[in-house]
């Protein structure tokens, strides 16, 4: 997989000047999104998300444990992203690199800060037993924008989750006996939109060819009108006007993407 060359980068920027991209998309459009849920027999909830050639899978596992002392009546959330070497020639074997960790953390904050999950609803017995939600994200093929794909996957997988039966006396989870009980989630769901700056132009959902030459990016988690988590990534700075523009784009894209995702819930 070649790194986008300097001449090609120049062409991408020239084309963006006309508001166009190599694959025919407008700057603010995503590639074709395909979503499948319930893809895993042993996860309590799961989803596969394809955006163009990018593919991630997400699985939700649940276990019962003690609450944190400062939140005795709330369940726990642990989000992990694994960018596995299977999914790209650029991912090496070994301990997780920063971009793996960042994706896990950004999805975690989107879920946590948006109020999407009612953590009190995950309490079994105050101060003693609460549910822990594990949101595990795996990359299968990286052709750019794993981050937004991971966030969509997490949302769909959480909606797909059925709480297993928990036997308090034996302190065992009867995974073989799923209930019809769904997770305590709000109907409105957050999304994560990452806006990239290439030259003087902003785009969403870059292909790998585009992502290679992204100079800076802002990931915005939340709803159409509300921002609940945000992170600017990479070295280049933005001026105020640009940042305001990013927020405008994020609102518009959030609205549009939401309609597409809703169908699967």
């Amino acid at each position: 997989m070649i790194h986008t060359t300097r001449v090609t980068a120049e062409r991408i920027k020239q084309y963006l000047k006309e508001g166009k991209r190599f694959d025919g998309r407008k700057p603010e459009n995503y590639r074709k999104i395909e979503i499948e849920k319930g893809i895993s027999a042993h996860a309590e909830g799961s989803a596969r998300v394809k955006i163009g050639k990018t593919e991630v899978i997400v699985g939700i596992k649940m276990s019962v444990g003690e609450p944190y002392p400062d939140s005795p009546d709330k369940g726990n959330l642990i989000t992990t992203a694994e960018l596995i070497p299977l999914s790209s020639p650029r991912i090496e074997l070994g301990p997780p690199k920063f971009n793996s960790i960042e994706i896990g953390r950004l999805v975690d904050r989107m879920l946590r800060e948006s109020g999407f999950i009612d953590f009190k609803g995950l309490c079994i017995k105050e101060g003693e037993k609460v549910w822990t939600l594990f949101v595990d994200i795996y990359s299968i093929n990286d052709d750019g924008n794993l981050l937004d794909a991971a966030a969509i996957g997490a949302i769909i997988a959480l909606f797909d989750t059925k709480i297993p039966k928990y036997d308090e006396e034996s302190d065992k989870i009867l995974y073989e006996e799923p209930t019809d009980e769904k997770l305590p989630l709000s109907k409105e769901f957050p999304l994560s939109i990452t806006i990239h700056k290439i030259g003087d132009y902003f785009i969403v959902d870059p292909t790998k060819e585009e992502e290679d030459i992204s100079e800076t990016r802002v990931t915005i988690g939340g709803y159409e009108e509300i921002v609940s988590s945000m992170q600017k990534g990479m070295e280049k700075s933005l001026n105020i006007e640009e940042m305001l523009k990013v927020l405008e784009i994020s609102k518009k894209v959030n609205q549009k993407l939401r309609k597409e995702i809703e169908k699967y819930i």
Binding site: I2, T5, R6, V7, T8, R11, Q14, Y15
Partner: protein, 222 residues
């Protein structure tokens, strides 16, 4: 299997039995010719070979390739040409006189250029930039296709690539290593050429490929 036919074979599969000679990607075992690679088997005048469908490019002397400058040494440039080992362009193989202290003003790290392979041995891969069409790439776009499809993109005696050049007015160099350079009047034309080349690479073995390419150009021209 007969002389005209081509068939998909897998490693370990007996392609043919009898008086045949083992060619590329095959082995003779007893009376049989066995494939050692996933690909298309063909027999030409008793010689059996398998044309690979995938794999990593291995350079041969005379190949035209596109590569990226990765590092600069006192004696020349290290070039990534999509092979496991990095290739080398000696200062003396640059078409102009190069001052030993200023290699980077001719080719700098991350620059991309068209080379010819002049040596492949245990010491490494040697390149030259002396020759027609060998030069630094300054405009247009570079993209990658499966290198095994290069012969189809070029076509018989260059017929396919000529067709695309003619339809788009673009300059096109198809590196044997699967990197392709397209440069034209405007981006639309370059993208049209790129789409055609990617289409051919993905549909290399379907029938009537030239007709299909013509057809696609017809639609796109509207």
């Amino acid at each position: 299997m007969s002389e005209q036919e081509r068939k998909v074979v897998i490693p370990g599969e007996i392609i043919v039995e009898g008086e045949y000679l083992p060619g590329e990607n095959t082995e003779k075992k007893d009376n049989a010719i066995i494939s050692t690679r996933y690909g298309l088997a063909e027999i030409i005048q008793g010689l059996v070979r398998v044309i690979p469908l995938s794999g990593v490019y291995s350079p041969r002397v005379g190949n035209i390739v596109i590569g990226t400058i990765k590092d600069i040494t006192l004696k020349g440039w290290l070039v990534d040409i999509n092979t496991p080992t990095i290739a080398f362009l000696n200062v003396s193989e640059f078409p102009r006189f190069v001052n030993k202290g200023s290699l980077e003003s001719f080719l700098d790290i991350d620059d991309i250029a068209i080379f010819k392979v002049i040596g492949v041995n245990s010491k490494g891969i040697e390149l030259t930039m002396k020759g027609r069409g060998l030069m630094k790439i300054e405009k247009g776009m570079v993209f990658e296709i499966n290198y095994t499809r290069v012969p189809r993109v070029i076509g018989r005696e260059g017929s396919m690539v000529s067709l695309i050049k003619q339809k788009t007015g673009c300059n096109i160099t198809v590196g044997q290593n699967g990197l392709v350079w397209v440069s034209g009047e405007d981006i639309e034309k370059e993208l049209k050429a790129r789409k055609m080349i990617e289409y051919i690479a993905e549909n290399s073995f379907i029938s009537g490929l030239t007709d299909k390419v013509n057809e696609l150009f017809g639609e796109k021209n509207e």
